[in-house]
């Protein structure tokens, strides 16, 4: 069975490519797989019926109790025959139904075959979750099949409707199955049936499972998707909506009925909904003028009947249910296929337009007549045999005194009458010769290939009637073992005592026969009274259309979704931040209020200086929020930074203080460079609305944070690890500067990460500034042209640097500047301090291990040296000062740092393990060297690279973008390459220099 299942899958994958060569004959290949499965089932049948089920097991996800366990017991066996047999015939039929040039037939063949495979798996699954897997697969595949005519909106809508409806049911069922498996302690169906758990939870679980089954089988109130699904090609309707998918729900009920038919409300739900569906479906079918819709509502009606009898849960009922299921598959598939042929040949399915077809196509009419007779329950067809069995099973209990059974009998008889009526209506509508309607043109398309499938199905329905004993042998084993009746006074004949009911054409003049006769006569009467009934139909219009209800619900969900989303997704950053902060305050505040822990011992300050600094910091923070100009805001924010560094130095952390000051300086410079290009005033939208609320949130967050700090510190019970650091740093890290040892050794792993942050930040600055031509949506403009222009300009700069003009050449690029922008004083200072600053930076780098300093501070100092060169001499001076690319500096720094981390691994040590080298060198004397210094060099380089990158981007690039010459070049560059260079712009403005 697993092999066959795999074959279905493989076939589905191969069919689409095969279609190119085979066109519509691909269906003949596709039919082979279900045919094979059918043959296999026939061969193993006798063994299964005489006792031993066929079992195959494979593992999948054992942790979820999801296993590929397939079992073919008598019930599965019958279902297998139905789904594979009808499947094979429908696929054969498709070869005639589709023309060789029909669109998408490869996809269609693949999907239909996959669907057959899913059905095959569904009826064989032993594991409820595996069953669910196939269950949902059939939903999705049916979605694709219903939507086959994708160009039609109705088709797409119906497909979505069917998918959503059945998946809704499916998910409800999944929840039920999870609960059920939980209660039973296993996901295996036989184990669940044997355990038959009880209790409120089980009842809930079972009802949830029933919801799934009913939605799949198109029972009220989920019935609407089935008529909608008639948008599918007819073979799909014949297979999915007659024989296979809609039977899945019935199958599931049949599976669980033995254990759960006595669950409270099971029988009531199924009988009431089933009967209502049966009668409503039959009634609506009488109104239909589209033959296919007539069949669809007929199917809904029959499914109602099936659900009633399947859910009844007695031995005879189970027997009857399975017989009816088989009979229904045979006659309903036949009829759909017949409709397909009519539609194909006559070009319409409207019974008002069809006339004289019976004479034109007598064979077709005969096939249809057989199927209809079976549907109406006429002897000697199998439908009659099955309906007799249904009536018998219910009558036993009705006569035994079960009220529900009596209601069921009455309902079934009424429903059967409607069934008989719409059966006649179908035949009359399709084949009769009607006055006032032109006869249908000839149906020359109908070849034997087209007729084969319906003929086989119809004849099977005919043959099984007289051969009811044979059918009984096949169907009965799955029913045996069930209770004989549900009514208290029912004859409790144990199975096998000779009294049990068997399928047969003739049981004698029984009450069942009488009821059958009554139903048929009533059906004829209803058909004859079609004129008044049509008037009644016109008047009694269903107040609520379930399909419209579906659309209302969907529309309601859509509107709800939009409303909820516009409530949360304001697109407003302050709103998002406010929500986050409110959550923070609420969460921590509630904990603080409920909890009993108070703050620990509070020491307000170590020195009064801290208070002063704190006041300044708070004041400048508040000022920053009220600043009207960007530059003011930047400055006051800077004050908080300097305040921080003052706090650091008071607390005895000179490294941090130095670094913080340098960071503030570099940040300030970067800000100033950026602010050149921004409007001086802050925009209106900053802080103009809801100021009070924002202030409230801000104060609340600050207050909460402060209280938390006190409470958390007050709860401390153990000494912090940092107390051990100075000793560790000196003894093992060979450094007296604990902060530096922490950065480059103890916690160098963090530093390595922060270097990555620095590099990413540098890259980001470049990314945002150098955006010219980088939009991946645009073709690159003439790059060569741009470069040529730049080079020309540089040449001009070099010419201006001729010896004769070197009078004021304190710095290299000085002459390139507009004289009005030059400051000789600045140039002189930079000239004098640059090299000294670089030396200081290197000193800081190497001294850092024992004294304040380190790679970070050193790098920043070196960066400031570069800043000086840039400020004095502009971008060409910067280029002269740092002739290497920022990327190379960043990359080299990171290479050094990361290699220091990786190198010890090769020696078998932990990453970043440092080594200490101590040696006497000539001249230098005693030298100590810790390998972590190499790491610090990496830090140094990365920081220099960052500053360089910031200067290049925020400085030089912004200069360049603001430069009128460069603008002209850029304009030329972004124009098509063919445009001649705008020669005029350059030299003129250049003339000033």
């Amino acid at each position: 069975m697993l092999v066959l299942l795999a074959l279905f899958g493989i076939a589905a994958l191969l069919l689409a490519p095969l279609t190119r060569a085979l066109t519509n004959r691909v269906f003949l290949v596709a039919a082979l797989v279900p045919l094979g499965a059918f043959g296999h089932a026939l061969v193993v049948g006798p063994g299964i019926l005489s006792g031993g089920p066929l079992v195959e097991r494979a593992a999948w996800v054992p942790q979820l109790q999801l296993t590929l366990d397939l079992v073919m017991d008598p019930l599965s066996w019958v279902m297998t025959l139905v789904v594979t047999g009808v499947g094979a015939l429908v696929l054969l039929y498709c070869a005639a139904y589709f023309r060789s040039d029909s669109e998408g037939i490869g996809r269609f063949a693949a999907t239909l075959t996959a669907f057959a495979g899913a059905m095959y798996g569904l009826v064989l699954s032993e594991d409820v979750f595996l069953l669910f897997v196939f269950w949902e697969l059939t939903s999705v595949l049916s979605y694709l099949l219903i939507g086959h005519y994708q160009g039609r909106r109705a088709s797409r809508g119906a497909a979505l409707q069917a998918l959503i409806t059945t998946t809704l049911g499916g998910l409800v069922m999944l929840v039920g199955l999870v609960l059920l498996a939980q209660q039973a302690g296993s996901a295996s169906i036989p184990v669940i049936i044997a355990a038959a758990p009880e209790g409120a939870l089980t009842t809930t679980a079972i009802i949830l499972v029933l919801v799934g089954a009913l939605s799949k089988s198109a029972i009220l109130p989920f019935h609407f998707w089935l008529p909608g699904a008639m948008a599918a090609p007819t073979p799909v309707s014949a297979y999915l909506h007659a024989a296979a998918m809609v039977k899945a729900g019935v199958y599931l009920i049949a599976r669980f009925a033995p254990a759960f038919a006595e669950t409270p409300s099971w029988r009531e739900i199924l009988v009431v909904l089933g009967l209502a569906t049966m009668i409503l479906g039959g009634w609506v079918a009488l109104r239909q003028t589209d033959l296919k819709l007539l069949l669809a509502y007929g199917t809904v009606s029959q499914l109602g009947l099936l659900v009633v009898i399947t859910g009844w849960g007695t031995r005879d009922a189970a027997l009857a249910a399975l017989a009816l299921l088989v009979a229904h598959a045979l006659f309903k598939s036949t009829l759909f296929l017949v409709v397909g042929i009519i539609d194909h040949g006559a070009g319409t399915r409207d019974l008002r337009a069809l006339s004289g077809l019976g004479r034109r196509a007598p064979v077709l009419a005969a096939i249809a007549a057989l199927a209809l007779a079976s549907m109406a329950g006429l002897p000697p067809l199998f439908g009659f045999v099955a309906k007799e069995a249904v009536l018998h099973a219910l009558l036993v209990d009705a006569l035994g005194g079960a009220d529900l059974a009596a209601i069921a009998v009455a309902g079934v008889v009424a429903g059967s009458a409607l069934t008989a009526a719409y059966s006649i209506r179908f035949f009359w509508g399709a084949f009769a010769t009607k006055g006032g309607v032109d006869d249908v043109e000839d149906l020359d398309h109908v070849g034997p290939g087209f007729l084969l499938a319906p003929a086989v199905l119809a004849v099977a329905g005919l043959a099984l009637g007289p051969l009811a004993a044979l059918a009984d042998a096949g169907v009965a084993p799955s029913a045996d073992g069930l209770p004989a009746g549900v009514a208290p006074s029912a004859p409790s004949a144990p199975s096998g005592s000779g009294e049990v009911y068997h399928l047969a054409l003739w049981h004698g003049p029984t009450l069942e026969l009488g009821l059958s006769l009554l139903a048929i006569l009533a059906g004829v009467a209803i058909f004859l009274a079609r004129e008044p009934i049509a008037r009644l139909h016109a008047r009694v219009h269903s107040p609520v259309s379930a399909s419209e209800l579906y659309w209302d619900v969907v529309g309601g969900v859509d509107r709800l979704a939009v409303r909820v989303t516009s409530l949360t997704q304001r697109g407003s950053l302050p709103f998002y931040l406010g929500v986050i902060l409110v959550v923070f305050v609420a969460g921590t505040g509630a904990t603080l209020l409920i909890g009993s822990s108070g703050p620990g011992e509070v020491r307000l300050w170590d020195t009064p200086a801290q208070v002063a600094i704190a006041v300044i910091m708070v004041a400048s923070a508040v000022a920053a929020t009220r600043a009207q100009k960007r530059f003011t805001a930047v400055l006051v924010v800077g004050v908080t930074g300097f305040g921080m560094s003052a706090l650091f130095s008071i607390m005895g952390a000179p490294d941090l203080a130095i670094t913080q000051i340098l960071v503030e300086l570099v940040t300030l410079i970067a800000f100033v460079l950026v602010l050149r290009r921004l409007p001086a005033q802050l925009g209106d939208r900053h802080g103009s609305t809801r100021k009070g609320l924002r202030a409230l949130i801000a104060v609340a967050v600050g207050a909460t944070m402060g209280v938390i700090a006190l409470v958390a510190a007050g709860a401390r019970t153990e000494a912090p690890i940092s107390l051990a650091w100075p000793e560790l740093a000196y003894e093992i890290g060979h450094g007296r500067n604990t902060v530096n040892v922490a950065l480059v050794d103890l916690r160098a792993w963090d530093t390595l990460g922060e270097l990555a942050v620095v590099i990413a930040a540098a890259t980001g600055v470049a990314s945002l500034l150098f955006i010219r031509g980088r939009d991946d949506a645009l073709p690159r403009p003439a790059r060569g042209l741009v470069r040529r222009r730049v080079e020309q300009r540089l040449d001009r700069v070099r010419e201006q640097g001729r010896p004769g003009e070197l009078r004021n050449a304190w710095i290299l690029a000085g002459p390139s500047l507009d004289p009005r922008n030059r400051s000789i004083l600045l140039e002189v200072v930079v000239r004098l301090t640059f090299h000294a600053t670089v030396v200081v930076s290197i000193y800081l780098l190497f001294a850092g291990h024992n004294l304040p300093g380190g790679g970070f501070a050193g790098g920043l100092v070196a960066g400031l040296a570069l800043v000086g060169r840039y400020l004095a001499g502009g971008r060409y001076e910067l280029g002269a000062a740092a002739p290497v690319g920022a990327g190379a500096v960043l990359g080299t720094g990171m290479l050094l740092a990361a290699s220091t981390a990786a190198m010890p691994l090769m020696l078998g040590a932990d990453a970043l393990t440092s080594a200490f080298v101590e040696t006497e060198l000539p001249v230098l004397g005693h030298v100590e060297f810790v390998t972590s210094t190499i790491f610090d060099v990496g830090v140094y380089l990365v920081v220099v690279g960052l500053v360089l990158d910031v200067l290049r981007s925020l400085g030089a690039e912004v200069d360049r973008q603001a430069d009128p010459v460069e603008r002209a070049i850029a304009a030329a560059g972004s124009a098509p390459a063919a445009v001649s260079p705008p020669a005029a712009a350059g030299p003129q403005s250049e003339g000033r220099a």
Binding site: A561, F584, A898
Partner: protein, 525 residues
């Protein structure tokens, strides 16, 4: 074998350094970047096999013993995350190379895409192996900065605006995280996760909960848990497709990963579980409704991303081995499927010139391969069996059913509902963008779009359709294949997730790992 632990971080970092040194030459850049990620993947797989079959790995960086130095820990959860992340990052990189995003930048002083992408990888990996709370913070910082660079790539107005939302919210999250670390250090005097776990029992319960709440808020922003999630759909969709794909797959999951560590190792107590469950429910439902209200595929996917974070939080919030295991499996599944769908959205954008379902149609006919590459992961995300999304959901439902209280049942119901809404949102895309013919788009008054057209922020532009480089399709197909492999080999993968869940049953195992033979670890069990 322990040497492989830091290499997980050092390989992409060295790769980033080399791409920077390589400058503006695209060919070596590509070779270095892809090479680094291939090596990363191999390391990850070796680690996973070793950790799963032999023993978890611990390295004390620089030889400094915990708690004084930084300790790196690779247990099953970390190894699993490393492997999945490496796969996703590699596929996305290949996709970007195909798209041409990784090339060029001749005008800039540093090359941008490749180094930043590798630094992002570094951040991801640092976060996974950190056995130290502050080091975890460093990982988050790297993610924040590098993802900001990637989200604003190209510097268009919409990207800068999205980038500002992203970076400010992320900074706030970082700030809260940093404050939490400070408070934890204040209370416990340590930042080594294992030692925090050892000492946490010594302080009063209300202070424990206080610290717990702080960490959860910080990580909840990262993970996009309702109501800390509003920023996400406003930040992600505008970035270039592969960038969004990587972010959607990975970044929020790192938040969830951190939450798992918090809930299982640092604060294993059940005090906040009910609250987390309620938040999980709201995250799921509000996110799914958001997806239904969108017309743009990338925005739909951003909302499903938020929504399905709820599933993972649900698993974690149950506080059981089964719940954690299911959450871990769901993370793995979701990283793969969400990335795949965003890549597929990138293909759609390329083929149709837009990702708005009000504007496009006929893709099944014009690009059948893209259709398949969208449909399969869409069903997977919608939780349709047999795909991994269904398996993860089944695991979560079973774990919740085991819990068996009203809240758990409510969450199961919400989970089923959200699954349906996700399916609805995605199948609607299929109906309109793939099935509906391109000619029918103009003036189509589909009932499916009636409310969406009134929704806010549904503007999108249609640019000309272009041919799709084969590499883009190939990497998307590769990701679809990975998703299918997760389905077929769900048994072994779920096995690892289950065992990882068992490792995380209380802090005992984790403490033993970092402090072997410590009595405190044993006491706590």
């Amino acid at each position: 074998m322990t040497a492989l632990v830091p290499l997980v971080v050092l390989v992409p970092l060295l790769g980033a350094a080399l791409t920077l040194v390589a400058g503006r030459r695209p060919q070596p850049q590509r070779v270095i970047a892809i090479g680094a990620l291939v090596i990363e993947l191999v390391i990850g797989i070796v680690l996973l096999i070793h950790v799963d079959q032999v023993e978890p790995l611990v390295m004390e960086v620089g030889g400094w013993q915990a708690p004084f130095g930084i300790v790196l820990v690779v247990d099953r959860l970390a190894a699993l995350m490393i492997v999945v992340s490496a796969i996703v990052l590699l596929a996305v990189l290949v996709f970007s190379v195909g798209q041409g995003l990784a090339d060029g930048d001749e005008e800039t002083p540093v090359s941008i895409y490749n180094p930043t992408y590798l630094i992002l990888t570094t951040g991801v990996m640092i976060a996974f192996i950190a056995g130290d709370l502050f080091n975890l913070y460093v990982g988050f910082e790297i993610l924040l900065v590098s993802s900001y660079v990637l989200i604003t790539l190209g510097g268009t107005e919409s990207r800068i605006r999205a980038g500002v939302t992203y970076v400010v919210v992320s900074l706030l999250s970082s700030l809260l995280f940093l404050a939490s670390i400070a408070m934890i250090y204040g209370a416990l005097g340590t930042v080594t996760i294992a030692q925090i776990a050892q000492r946490i029992g010594e302080i009063p319960v209300d202070v424990q909960i206080l610290l717990h709440v702080m960490l959860l808020v910080a990580f909840g922003i990262k993970a996009a848990v309702f109501p800390l999630s509003f920023w996400l759909p406003d930040s992600y969709p505008t970035a270039p497709a592969p960038v969004t794909a990587a972010f959607a797959g990975l970044l929020t999951k790192i938040g969830v990963y951190a939450i798992i560590r918090v809930e299982t190792v640092i604060f294993p107590g059940p005090e906040l579980n009910p609250a987390l469950m309620v938040l999980a429910l709201l995250t799921m439902v509000v996110g799914a409704l958001g997806a239904v209200a969108q017309a743009d595929i990338k925005r739909i996917l951003s909302f499903t991303l938020v929504s399905h974070i709820g599933y993972m939080i649900l698993g974690v919030a149950l506080g059981t081995v089964e719940g954690t295991a299911a959450a871990i499996f769901y993370i793995v599944h979701h990283i793969v499927v969400q990335t795949t769908l965003f890549l597929a959205a990138g293909l759609i954008e390329r083929e149709a010139g837009s990702t708005s379902i009000t504007r496009i149609g006929g893709l099944l006919a014009s690009a059948p391969l893209v259709a398949a590459l969208f449909f399969i992961p869409a069903l997977n995300l919608g939780g349709i069996p047999p795909f991994s999304g269904f398996l993860g959901k089944l695991g979560l439902f079973q774990a919740a059913a085991q819990q068996g209280d009203a809240l758990a049942y409510a969450l199961i119901g919400a989970g089923a509902l959200v699954s349906l809404l996700t399916l609805y949102a995605l199948v609607r895309v299929w109906n309109l963008a793939f099935w509906r013919s391109a000619d029918a788009v103009e003036g189509d008054e589909s009932r499916l779009l009636r409310s969406v057209e009134e929704a806010p922020l549904n503007t999108s532009t249609v640019s000309g359709a272009r041919t799709t480089p084969r590499l883009m399709t190939l990497s998307t197909a590769g990701m679809v294949a990975v998703g299918l492999a997760l389905t077929v080999f769900a048994g072994p993968v779920y096995g690892v997730a289950s065992r990882a869940g068992e490792n995380l049953d209380g802090p005992g195992a984790y403490i033993q790992l970092v402090f072997p033979g410590s009595s405190e670890g044993a006491e706590l069990e």
